[in-house]
């Protein structure tokens, strides 16, 4: 297995399977995540992608950013579509209609596509045990349609459908934990990642591709436009999210949790929230409440991870 995290950056494959020239906003760390995922997967890959930012920026007819076979069908069904690709190829290879070949079947979608509208299709595909990977690019809102809240939007964030106002603190519900929902399907591999930690991300995607059966990778993908931060700060905010333990990086292999990164110094949540326009309105008390949520959630993962 390629151990990207112990290799130096120079050793990573220079070729791109998701090429430049696409129309993402400046500093889009979701596009960076797609690029890293595609580097880790290599060319023997078929991608089914949901409607959303990444689909729109990469496929304006007649152009495409994709060097691998790629299909977009609808918003909520990339998991079902890729399960169909896998089933079709599997049957044809078994029947000798196609030469046998190891292919990565990868479904991809945003947090809205994954945690909201496509939840049923994803759950079905994971439960059926197709040999596939599903990657969720979580930028914590419906960005393509203009920053509406999803069930993956964090507590306290202001979006265009959960706006902060005199009578509202913005999003008043807790972020849905998709990685743990994936774990509940008893699939062999689940991981969280962030494009601010590129080697960790690529290594996890690689591991997912080498795992027979269904794998799920949930990637925190900083969106400067929706988070209302400067484009050049996108990578920084990904690191802050992880160092504040808002978004812990871990793997769950056959049900066994392990943290793949433990911050040397855990920073207060305040440092992560500060400077993001979407959290600008929060009171000190609300920030304290968020800190309490983060502490309990992180301790749960630490405990699961330390279990022998």
């Amino acid at each position: 297995m390629d151990r990207f995290s112990v290799f130096s950056a120079r050793l990573v494959d220079k070729s791109e399977n998701f090429t430049s020239g696409h129309r993402a906003c400046q500093g889009c760390a979701e596009a960076l995540a797609v690029r890293l995922v595609m580097k880790a997967l290599g060319r023997d890959t078929i991608v089914a992608m949901s409607t959303g930012c990444m689909e729109i920026i990469s496929s304006p007819l007649p152009l495409t950013s994709w060097k691998v076979p790629w299909i977009h069908n609808a918003f909520e069904n990339s998991a079902a579509v890729i399960s169909g690709c896998e089933s079709g190829m599997k049957a044809m290879m078994r029947k000798g209609k196609l030469p046998a070949k190891k292919i990565n079947f990868v479904g991809m979608g945003g947090d809205g596509a994954t945690a909201d509208i496509g939840m049923g299709a994803l759950s079905g595909a994971l439960e059926r045990g197709h040999d596939m990977i599903y990657v969720c690019y979580d930028n914590e809102a419906y960005m393509n349609t203009g920053i509406q809240r999803s069930s993956s939007t964090p507590f306290g964030a202001s979006t265009t459908t959960s706006p902060a106002g005199k009578a509202s603190m913005g999003q008043h519900t807790r972020k849905k934990n998709m990685a743990q929902i994936a774990v509940a399907h008893n699939i062999p591999y689940v991981a969280t990642a962030c494009s601010s930690f590129p080697f960790d991300l690529m290594e996890k995607v690689k591991r997912a591709s080498e795992t027979p059966g269904a794998a799920y990778v949930h990637i925190l993908s900083v969106c400067p436009t929706g988070w209302r931060i400067q484009p050049h700060d996108a990578i920084k905010y990904g690191r802050l999210a992880v160092d504040a333990c808002v978004f812990p990086l871990y793997e769950v292999v056959n049900g066994k949790y392990s943290l793949t990164y433990r911050p040397q110094r855990i920073i207060p949540v305040k440092e992560y929230l500060g400077g993001q326009g979407r959290f600008r309105h929060l009171t000190e008390k609300q920030v304290e409440q968020i800190q309490a949520f983060v502490d309990t959630d992180y301790q749960k993962i630490v405990k699961l991870s330390d279990e022998v």
Binding site: P69, E76, G124
Partner: protein, 392 residues
């Protein structure tokens, strides 16, 4: 399987045909009255009689999505649904046609909610009339069996590359036991060779499918779709012609019965054709100059054949199995009225909507509809529609 004639439930015969067609992927979700088809396919796969992936999906939306993925990699793909299932998958039903994916579906026609009803009419298929699929209607078990092969042949023709729905009336056909002549596997292989898709998704030759279209290109994509459906017509005829040559059973977009010298005709789609023929026989005995016109191909609509069959007749009595609320009549009558608009020798059209949600339309009812329709036509009462058998 060798050539054999058996008494069999129509759903079973259809499933057997799907197996003989050597499909690679079946996406299955239960909904009455199509369920026997996929249940039987599950058995066939479980018994090792067909090497295929049987994908028991989480919803019909996912069923059509799985079909899209599977057809996009070039696998022969089948699914089946009815009514609410079709409504739920309708988003992807449209997309599958736009993406030119040669999926075959058995659409066991059933009424739409509400009120919930499991019984037969054509409310479901009319909802997706404009999706860009090829729609074939069958009227008995043999036609159901045969048209599975014809549908794959049409869908996979490189000149067509469109999904095809074989519409069969729920219960009236799906649950009937009828004699069906099964064809020899060898004949099927000859008629339906292995499918080789030109632009399938494969890492050796990457393509991007389903890109998004800006206004400057969307219109052109829709014209391509229109051309695709319209130009499929001669290839549909060819698929039926070759099936006929091999089996002696020929199919045509418009079929007629005792219509040549008829002054007026009853027009049906689906299983009502058989009853209509019997009633017409009886009425002929009484000296009525009546015939039957059956629409087998609903999309692409066979304008020329239809006009050829009916121009010069006095009137048509068109039976619809669905309503267009607030509209001018049933969808079939609407279509025919516009097909005949300003044509010389065009018959007038009297429209009945009958048999909603499986309400029985007996021979007596047909007789009544034909005779009353004839009178209506004679008195010039040809606007709108009559909801036949309405109580109270």
């Amino acid at each position: 399987m060798g050539k054999v004639r058996k008494g069999v439930e129509v759903s079973i015969a259809m499933a057997d045909a799907v197996a003989q067609a050597d499909v690679d992927v079946i996406a299955a979700y239960p909904i009455t009255p199509q369920t026997h088809i996929v249940e039987h396919l599950a058995d066939i796969v479980a018994n090792g009689e067909l090497d295929a992936e049987f994908v028991p999906v989480d919803s019909e939306h996912s069923a059509m999505s799985v079909c899209c993925g599977s057809a996009a990699v070039g696998a022969r793909t089948f699914t089946s649904t009815s009514s609410q299932g079709l409504a739920l998958m309708s988003e992807i039903f449209f997309i599958s046609a736009a993406m030119r994916l040669p999926i075959v579906m058995a659409l066991a026609n059933r009424s739409l909610s509400s009120p919930l009803s499991i019984w037969n009419d054509h409310g479901d298929v009319m909802m997706v009339r404009d999706a860009g699929w090829i729609h074939v209607f069958v009227e008995n078990g043999q036609e159901s069996y045969d048209n599975v092969f014809c549908a794959f042949r049409m869908a996979e023709d490189p000149n067509v590359m469109l999904p095809v729905a074989v519409n069969l009336d729920g219960f009236i056909l799906t649950h009937m036991i009828e004699p069906v002549e099964y064809e020899d596997d060898e004949l099927i292989r000859q008629y339906l060779p292995e499918f080789k898709m030109k632009h399938a998704l494969h890492p050796d030759k990457p393509v991007s499918m389903g890109c998004f279209g800006m206004p400057e290109i969307y219109t052109e994509t829709q014209m391509h779709r229109e051309d695709g459906v319209t130009n499929s017509y001669p290839h549909i005829l060819k698929a039926w012609e070759e099936w006929g040559k091999l089996t002696g059973r020929y199919y045509h977009p418009i079929e007629t019965y005792r219509a040549d010298d008829a002054e007026y005709c009853i027009v049906t789609m689906g299983s009502y054709g058989e009853t209509a023929m019997e009633v017409v026989d009886a009425l002929r005995e009484e000296g009525e100059k009546v015939g039957v016109v059956k629409i087998r191909l609903w999309r692409p609509f066979p304008f020329d054949e239809f006009r050829r069959a009916v121009l010069g007749k006095k009137s048509l009595i068109v039976i619809d199995r669905a309503l267009s609320f607030g509209g001018p009549g049933g969808p079939v009558a609407l279509e025919l009225r516009s097909a005949l608009y300003k044509k010389e020798g065009a018959p007038t059209i009297v429209n009945y909507i009958a048999g909603l949600a499986g309400r029985d339309v007996s021979r007596k009812d047909f007789r009544h509809i034909i005779l009353e329709g004839k009178e209506k036509a004679a008195s010039g009462d040809t606007e709108g529609f009559t909801l036949y058998g309405l109580r109270g």
